[in-house]
Symmetry: C2
Subunit: 301 residues, 2 copies
Amino acid sequence: MIETKNIAARRETKTLQVASSISKMKEIAESLRRQNLTIGFVPTMGCLHGGHLRLIKKSLEFCDRTVVSIFVNPTQFGRDEDLDSYPRQLEDDIEKLEATAADILFHPGAEEMYPQNYKTHVQVQDISEYLCGKNRDGFFIGVATVVLKLFNIVRPHRAFFGEKDWQQLAVIEAMVEDLNLDVAVVRVPLVREPDGLAMSSRNRYLSPQQRQTALSLSRSLREARDNIRRGTTSAKVISDAIQRCLLEKEGCEIDYIAICDPESFRAKEQIRGRTLIAIAAKVGVARLIDNCIVEENECSE
Amino acid sequence: MIETKNIAARRETKTLQVASSISKMKEIAESLRRQNLTIGFVPTMGCLHGGHLRLIKKSLEFCDRTVVSIFVNPTQFGRDEDLDSYPRQLEDDIEKLEATAADILFHPGAEEMYPQNYKTHVQVQDISEYLCGKNRDGFFIGVATVVLKLFNIVRPHRAFFGEKDWQQLAVIEAMVEDLNLDVAVVRVPLVREPDGLAMSSRNRYLSPQQRQTALSLSRSLREARDNIRRGTTSAKVISDAIQRCLLEKEGCEIDYIAICDPESFRAKEQIRGRTLIAIAAKVGVARLIDNCIVEENECSE
């Protein structure tokens, strides 16, 4: 059932179908399933950028129909975080979706997704407790719960997630396996701006000066990779160098620098075998993350 | 698609299909779905009794195919509870299932349902915190999680649960609604032995003498109903009378007597409108529960 589609040809003839209620989306999913069409799914919080478009392209390539959801999920924001100011620009997003050949936009309201009497939460233990889970209370409960709800509504055969959110991917993969879901989770590599900054909807919070500071995240990872390539194996040495790089320019508040196993997220003292280097830092109001995978004496992003 | 089946005729021609692995069960479910057959599901922990058989009968009546699962779910037993001694009698159960016209038995192993690296749990907040959730730490997390897993594997159109586990039913209904699952949860009334004891796999723990003591649960509920019919509206008066009845014979250790709203489980001081009276008590090693629904000046079980 996997075959590469002629995306350009589809773009000519298609219009974007919009489902703004759960029942409408379920109806569409049921109809696609009945026609034996494979459903690809790209869940987003909107404010679409090149990273999202890469996910959509992958889905178009591998699936008969592609559903993109736009839902700024309130339950994955902490109390002091940017839920209210998180960028929303539905019309602009719809234009971008129409320019791709995405088939269906699902954008439910928060009241329908979380009605007043809402009670159910999904927790993926252990891996949720490291890195982004450590300082963001309930973050991965919010992520796992909304993704499960979206899976149940959209009923995708394949769901596409970016490796920028490496830990989120691990949480979702564990949930899918543990709960016996029939969804193939597809990993898509992180996409960078030409200057190296990892693409993120939150990049638009950055002033030109803050953007210069923000570049230290990707630069510190490049340097770490180079150092490991040159033979450094001590995680402490690498971590200290990343820290120096991040603090070189003013205005970068480090949340964490993690050098760890890419699956269990347990810290490593020595960089042996496949290793994840992950950073989270605040530049102005923008919380930014970036990561790369390195191997001893060899790296790949 | 709902039509009453001729169960007797089906019994003649059918053999019970047994799936003891998740992949086998998923294959069967996929095949039934492809044939547009409706799947009815009765999840059990085995040691089948008349209450289970009533659920199966209901499923046979309303669905094209009926799946019964037998899985003694380790995650819903507390540390000091009877997981190891919980009665298991698969051969006997299979005979009983063959005597009904159930189509498929799913009995997975605990290692396959909860492999070593298992991490994901589902919590239904609020209603899980009352009654049976109060003194049984993690009980409803175990129930909700396994039921969600079973739903994802068996993919039923309808799932049948007994009202003996009234609170469990409320937890599952909330989960199904919150997680946008496409399963109709069907409530089936509690079934009693001729002497009034609510049917339970744990009844076999009772010695003849303990069974006499255990009968005070159903008797106390009957008396409560009579008192309410005669005009008593004070929950305290009713609760005190139930307590006296339970403690009349030796060997009954009360866990709780709850007089509450049947949906929110919040305690009522006055019995007005639809009210749940629920009891849990230990007689010997058997933890027993029973309940009834009453209305002001009118009762139904």
